[in-house]
Symmetry: C2
Subunit: 299 residues, 2 copies
Amino acid sequence: MADVQIIDVSPRDGLQNEPAIVPTEKKKRLIEMLVDSNVKKIEATSFVHPRKVPQMADAEQVIKQCETFGEIEFVALIPNQKGFERAKQTNVSEVNWVTAATETFNCKNIGMSIDENFGQFKTIVQESKALNIKICFSIAVSFGCPYEGEVAPAKVISLVERAAEVGVDRIGIADTIGIATPKQVKQLLAEVMQVVPSIPIAIHLHDTRGLGLANAYAALEAGVNIFETSVSGIGGCPFAPGAAGNLATEDLVYMLERMGVRTDIDFEKLLAAADFAASLTSNQPLGRIRQVEKRGKCK
Amino acid sequence: MADVQIIDVSPRDGLQNEPAIVPTEKKKRLIEMLVDSNVKKIEATSFVHPRKVPQMADAEQVIKQCETFGEIEFVALIPNQKGFERAKQTNVSEVNWVTAATETFNCKNIGMSIDENFGQFKTIVQESKALNIKICFSIAVSFGCPYEGEVAPAKVISLVERAAEVGVDRIGIADTIGIATPKQVKQLLAEVMQVVPSIPIAIHLHDTRGLGLANAYAALEAGVNIFETSVSGIGGCPFAPGAAGNLATEDLVYMLERMGVRTDIDFEKLLAAADFAASLTSNQPLGRIRQVEKRGKCK
């Protein structure tokens, strides 16, 4: 039994910013390698409008491919009600709704105000439950926003309370642009967990400024045990300037296992998935374990 | 008034592993840039035998150059009594004695047993004090050893107690090969501070596996506020396989300042020093802030 749950978001957050379209077959292969390394939950795609994120235009096909992988839970991001209409036609296990903590980011990311966005969310929650699709509520730019700067914890807490009232299966606190510090992470997550003690809380981490692992440790110290990361640290949000790279799943797994926190993930197989993920992107990946190995000094 | 003290060790730990000899003039320039960025304590060189580490053969000249920099404290590493005999002829402010936590590392690093090594240490402490040279005692491979594996905290604590008995100005706990986890750092440092509450404790960090900042945060959580790092993350120990790169000073300063922990360091000038340090080495530097900027995504 694992002590923590790791949701690899590389097929979605890792690839969505990639300018060259990655063929569905290769996305399937990445997912297969993640499954093979024993990752139990994967954010596979996003039901976003293909004009907005052409890389995710094959969302239905990706989820269809995932059906062959058995017991694994597949998550799809949904930015709005239309996304849900598409998602519910598929066999997706869970939808991940995203609302930003700031009006400007919400407007740029999803094209509506927080209230409109939340209104749409409320209309889909009951249907989602009736269809036995788990529903997760993620709060983008929970620590800092590329447009509005530092985000007051009260804004995040207010959204957490509203989501809890509606009823959700998980709440995700996202450091969308990798600007959080360990101090912020520990304080905000402790407060969130106090406000909604019975809802599982996930932390979504980017490693833009190298603080990803420190933030993961701070989250763990706060009592959070669900992490959203990408193999090889690929990724970034197309609407979030500066959001280079998720925290690398393999770096997190390395740290956790070394601290005696069980992930149940096969590390060697995860490294193979990380190498494959890196080969799909044009950016040099950020994962540290692999980088240092390439320096030829870390045996 | 700064909340923490940062000892930049790049002229010593950062350069000692560099195969091409860096001219004394360039070492002076690096030190000057560090001084200019308001780093108040710098480990400038090592009085190690020139045959063992040819890069440090100019130790006397380096310390001589430092005399022009005024109020800054300059530290020199000394591996043995002979090193102290050389150091005391100079104007060095502080000597940093190194004993390893494991017999094998001590033998490979310093060529004697821990007891012999400690015996030499005891003989120089009084003289050092009489000469008004501060004396620091550093414990290498405090968390893990490339030859003996994981290091039992009891071994470190025993050396801490012996050093405290002799009387030292600071005790350094070194993660020489960058193998520590935040959990280990927090636990060991908390124990050390409990055992010797009145002696300042420093943590010496490497970033070999990307855990440097997480470990620095854990050290801060344990109450430690003296950090040994290298600009640009250059460095590594010639006798410690796998010891690639100290934690980058600029990454630490970035994290600390963002958390409201004052360093009093001029960040832009520190980045300039980091770039200069990187230009002196053959290895690609590990500092994250600069790496990410070079990806062109982190503004």
